[in-house]
């Protein structure tokens, strides 16, 4: 009754092809952006920023990146943790080697470096597919972590192999380092998330995205109709790694401030991002955000309920967290194997017909 297409007339092709064709969706989207930019920065404190919002935003970028590769191009990757490490170490080296370089360019250049590394490790995808490709990217994960542990140049020969982000500011406001105000770090990350999600959405419905999807659906058929698999697969790896690299750079410089490759970018991280993409929904922008929210916010929420409200012992709460999150993943995948995005899509379908389903 409320959520409907009737009466919403499209008078131009541009209007017909917009991302949110239904007026209510569009308004919801504008409202979300407005709240995120105009309200959230004022009510954000250290805890909400550092424990909840920043990790959510940063992992959302990583999830979008991996979704481009897996969801749109159909190339399985288990190397996301390693690529995040490339982004993090690239940003560390750039920050310490060029102290004058603006932090925005540091992050973008880190993404670029990761894109090159990602394309290098994407080369095997031209010969191998599916599980075999997953194993090849797994090799990338272990190799990169080993590399950053082994070669002292990457951590500037520090005694412990830890990298720490120095303070960098944008327009006079500290963005990285301990003195950054939660609102500035938040807006900095939000800016990246907005631009990158917008770019990804438009990329995936343009010519490149269609090539990726053709490869995903059937690579031989795609080749016959004129899609160059070399270009399509390598651009997917490059773009995906660019996103993951940026998220790694932000994770290290803005969120954590100090990191150690084995602990922060281990194989668990690759799985975490893969789960976000699978639970959120393959091939969906909304799914990337939903998946990141589920995997990042749910444990914090459960911890606050069980320890903060119900006063349970911390170890019991921590064990229960595994049980509940694990159980929810199973339930979601049974109810809707295509992830949270598909659940959302079905809800919208039902809402369109409500209250008179036929």
């Amino acid at each position: 009754m409320l959520y409907r297409e009737a009466g919403d007339f499209k008078t131009s092709y541009a209007k017909d092809q917009q991302t949110f064709p239904i007026a209510l969706d569009r308004w919801g989207y504008f409202l979300t952006i407005a709240v995120a930019v105009l309200v959230v920065p004022f009510i954000l404190n250290d805890y909400w920023s550092n424990a909840v919002v920043l990790p959510f935003l940063i992992y959302a970028i990583a999830a979008i990146g991996l979704n481009i590769l897996i969801g749109y191009c159909g190339q399985v990757s288990l190397g996301s943790g390693g690529f995040m490490a490339v982004g993090a170490y690239a940003s560390y080296k750039l920050m310490t080697a060029f102290p004058e370089l603006n932090i925005v360019f540091v992050v973008i250049l880190s993404g670029g470096i990761t894109a090159l590394v990602g394309m290098l490790f994407g080369l095997p995808s031209l010969r191998i597919k599916g599980f075999y490709l997953a194993v090849a990217t797994l090799a990338a994960q272990f190799f990169l972590v080993w590399l950053f542990n082994k070669v002292p140049w990457f951590y500037n020969y520090s005694a412990s192999g830890q990298i720490s982000a120095p303070e960098r500011s944008l327009f006079g406001f500290a963005v990285t380092g301990a003195n950054a105000h939660p609102a500035t770090s938040y807006l900095f990350c939000l800016g990246f998330v907005f631009v990158m999600a917008w770019a990804a959405r438009n990329m995936t419905r343009g010519a490149n995205g269609r090539k990726w999807m053709a490869i995903r659906d059937m690579d031989i058929a795609a080749e016959i109709i004129g899609v160059d698999p070399l270009k399509a697969k390598l651009t997917a790896f490059g773009v995906s790694s660019f996103y993951i690299g940026i998220s790694g750079a932000l994770l290290f410089s803005v969120y954590l401030g100090a990191a150690e490759v084995g602990e922060a970018f281990g194989i668990e991280k690759s799985f975490l991002i893969l789960f976000m993409v699978i639970i959120g929904g393959l091939g969906s922008m909304f799914g990337s955000f939903a998946g990141a929210a589920f995997m990042i916010l749910m444990p914090v929420l459960l911890k606050n309920i069980m320890v903060g409200q119900m006063d349970w012992p911390t170890d019991l709460a921590s064990h229960f967290q595994f049980v509940i999150v694990g159980g929810l993943i199973i339930i979601f995948l049974i109810v809707e194997p295509h992830g949270l995005a598909q659940l959302w899509r079905l809800t919208k379908e039902k809402l369109r017909l409500w209250p008179f389903p036929h």
């Binding site: 004022f42 009510i43 412990s160 192999g161 100090a258 911890k303």
Partner: protein, 428 residues
Amino acid sequence: MKLTKLAAAAIAATIAAGPVLADLVFPSLDYRTGAYAANGIPFADGYADYFALVNARDGGIGGVPAKVIACETGYNTEKGVECYESTKGQGALVYQPLSTGITYQLIPKATADGIPVHSMGYGRTSAANGKVFRNIFNYPANYWNGASIAVNHILAEEGGDVKGKTIALVYHNSAYGKEPIRTLEELSKKHGFKLSLLAVDHPGQEQKSQWLQIRREKPDYVLMWGWGVMNQVAIQEAANIRFPMDHFIGIWWSGSENDTLPAGDGADGYKALNMHNVGSDYPLYADLKKYVYDAGKAAGAGDQSGTVLYNRGMYAAMLAVEAAKTAQEMHGTKDITPAMMRDGMENLVIDEAKMAGLGMPNFGPSFSVSCENHGGPGLGAVQQWDASAKKWTLITEFGPSDMDVIGALIAEDSAAFAAENNITEGCN
């Protein structure tokens, strides 16, 4: 827009009102789950039980009750950040994260927030230079002291000459495990032994290849920087290749009952360093039994009492309580702030009389902290495992470390940190 301002004002009001300073808050960033739980649990229990004792017996610190807020980190830095942010608003006086990775993360954050961090025998070693690391303390001893004490013990065993001998270091491949390498390299130059490095990746369950290499290379001594499940596996593997256990020396984080018990008789003779005494033969334990255990206030399962790491947790809590008392005396107020706590830690004096008065005679070395030296005297002893009696005993006195080598390294590393972060050295 009006609504936004209202909301902002409401939030600002809640923040400004802040927590009521009823209790002295000591957050415990502990871990009772994951690959490091075997070592995290006894430490957390000891830490919590000592505060429970102080509350029950003395009515708190100077009459103000102490409140321990437990937060599970799982030895994970991201959860550590969450724990830090969630507890710091509640008036946290000092952080003891029991993880080198989390300590590195907290050093800039806690410095900016003005909250002291006490990384007792772990963390960033160069924090011993209090002129650069104003809010970070790592007394009574740090990793580099540990490395030197281990080498000193080997020197004593070998009659003062280790030229041409080989010492292997089996280490956790993380900031924690890598810390001693630089000191050991310096010492190997000084004393002429050959150093061989063997990294073990997190979590440390897989060490077959490292121990195969040790079996092939036959080093004269093996040192270990391990934690959690890595310790148990390493001791078992050493026993499997019949490495002489009295030539196998762990750092103080690799020498607890939970590490040696799984290997059974094979672990007999294994050595580890320690910064305090072992066992439960202290008057304090009678108080603990009376006020804590029998009152049903023991933390966790209550089965860790008297173990090495339980004692260490207690020791950490004792040092925190004494620092808080010092701060109360210095500033003449009972409700101390984190900044006052920092002053208390910087002026902490622990002597034999004080420890005896607390029911812990001869428990640890006497020392005092100053602005120039946040690292304490760097004394350590060697303990040895007796598998038939299932207990650790100290086999040496608390001995000194080679401060000529370590002091230079600390100055170099802290100067690098100061340059990176634009800190001017100084005590004011």
